[in-house]
Amino acid sequence: MSWFQSVLTGQMRLRLAYPWGFWMSLLAELFIVGAMNWFLWHAVVDARGGVGFEGYTTWSLVLYTMITSTLRKVQMNSDQFAGIADDIYTGSLNKYLVYPIPYFGFRFAMHLGGSLMSLMQSTLALGLFWVVTRSGGEPLPGGTALMQSFVLVFLSISLRFVINSAIQASAFWFDQIWALLVLFSFLIMLLGGQLIPLSLYPDWAQVILSYTPFPILAALPAEALLGKLSWPNFFSGLGVGVVWTLVFLGLGHLVFRMGVRNYSGIGA
């Protein structure tokens, strides 16, 4: 077993050892998001005289927001969310700098391990909800939807990690980077379609956003799971996501290499 697998499975075991916190917050979030959106979209559709939105029923809009909300939890992976910045602030980075392995690789293995456990548990919860409520007749995801969404979810986990890493590496210079992470989360809500599907945005906005990293973090995996993503859109989204992942990976490494020259290992 390689060190990457060891770290990944170790993190998965750790998450399994303390599952209740995740389940409590997941169920609470799904209930609140689901209920809130159910009332909201019903009110909106009623106000439009019963006319829905193209491609979406009220139930699929509710499911969409529940999927993006779950996806946010899977990507955020709370215990790893500010791990790199914490390592820099507390001096815990010291131990990783003397290990003969890449620091970002180690952190990514931790992040992926936590995210995979969150994904499995979230899929179970969401699947149960979908089956039990029948979701107003929305069909369960087929093979294509599952495959597309699995690929995009994995890409979104990776992309979120590299963007967060690049932001957190700025902790070498700044005493507090929490605000930047929160700002980024708000940008995903607005520009990634976390709250409402991007297809409800004006056409010009959709075109611009399709070249940014944001839709890969929320809208595209949700659309894929709901069976609303065409193959051309899947591949173009995949391509854009891979490019942004590589860009932020390089940027993160560059920022880290520059920042570590200022590192003093304080706290150790």
Binding site: M1, S92, V98, P100, V260
Partner: protein, 330 residues
């Protein structure tokens, strides 16, 4: 093995005036000051040697160790550890060094020690048989076998430090940096760690740099010392030479046969003092050149039941070197 040439470190740290206005002003006009953590320092450490790196808090000990372990970049100067520049952090270099920071755990607190060690086996790419052999050696030597499956966070400080040492040494490093490995431990645990390090050094002969505030650590483990004061190297030499170079005084202890002669002695030796905790025991501090003359003089005046001449305490000498403004010795 370790070659250091004019290595120095200066921190640039922000400074702000006190109060709310000071905070507001610093938002727009931040002032920076240079803090010299380490003045240019040069030394070498040979294989198998244990160097004691001493100094008061803030003297630059940890800064020096972090630079040699590749954690920090220096401001100027050069260093080679096992032929590598530490701060280039090449994997081949990292596989040959270990660092133990007494105030910072290297282990994962939520995992049992066994899991942390297995992870380290993967990280260092150790072959299974060699890993098991070394692990057995450490578990038996440090009496840790029964604790292997316990979560790190549930261990006592002494037990945790023993596992820190196992984790640091499992890949058989050629160079070991020990930054206060016995800090906060009880006397029994301190002794166990000292004995282990001494035996380990004799068996595997790595180069070691040890920092500690405990004289017992230094006396038991180190043959050579580097003493830092406010970032400057003020002493480099053997532990035995430090007494010869700096112990200029001697302490004479006298137990008089006849207490009535005490006042006659004090008249001749005004510095003579009675020990407040041991009545009847007289103490006199003199220059080491005056020992024979003083002892003969005392014996002429008053017969004694006991008389001893002692060197100054090594701890006091080192403490004075660390903190005072005496001349330096290189």
């Amino acid at each position: 093995m370790i070659h250091v040439e004019k290595l120095q470190k200066t921190y640039r740290i922000p400074e702000k005036d006190p109060g709310l206005m000071g905070s507001v002003r610093s938002l727009f006009n931040r002032r920076w000051i240079d803090r010299h953590a380490l003045a240019p320092i040069s030394f070498e450490v040979a294989p198998g040697e244990i160097i004691g790196l001493l100094g008061a808090n803030g003297a630059g000990k940890t800064t020096l160790i972090k630079m040699l372990a590749g954690i920090m970049h220096p401001s100027a100067g050069s260093a080679q550890v096992q032929g590598y520049v530490p701060w280039e952090r090449k994997n081949a270099f990292k596989k040959q060094i270990a660092i133990v920071l007494g105030q910072k755990s290297q282990l994962w607190p939520d995992l049992p020690a066994a899991d942390s060690l297995l992870l380290l086996r993967e990280i260092y790419g150790l072959e299974q048989n060699a890993y098991q052999k070394r692990l057995d050696f450490f578990l038996d030597t440090l009496d840790l076998r029964k604790l292997l499956k316990t979560q790190i966070r549930r261990l006592s400080l002494g037990e945790r430090m023993k596992f820190e040492l196992v984790a640091a040494l499992i890949h058989e490093p050629k160079v070991i940096f020990l930054d206060e490995p016995t800090i906060g431990l009880d006397i029994g645990s301190q002794r166990a760690i000292r004995t282990f390090l001494s035996e380990y050094s004799k068996t595997f002969k790595p180069a070691m740099i040890l920092t500690s505030h405990y004289m017992e650590d230094v006396e038991a483990l180190c043959e050579r010392l580097l003493i830092l004061r406010e970032g400057e190297l003020v002493y480099e030499g053997s532990l035995t030479n430090i007494s010869e170079s700096y112990a200029q005084g001697r302490n004479i202890k006298i137990q008089l046969k006849d207490e009535a002669l005490k006042h006659s002695l004090i008249k001749n030796y005004p510095n003579l003092r009675e020990d407040p905790e041991q009545p009847g025991l007289m103490r006199l501090h003199i220059n080491r050149d005056e020992v024979s003359e003083t002892v003969l003089g005392i014996l002429k005046i008053a017969p004694v039941t006991d008389l001893s001449v002692e060197e100054e305490d090594l701890g006091n000498i080192i403490d004075s070197l660390q903190t005072s403004r005496k001349g330096t010795s290189r």
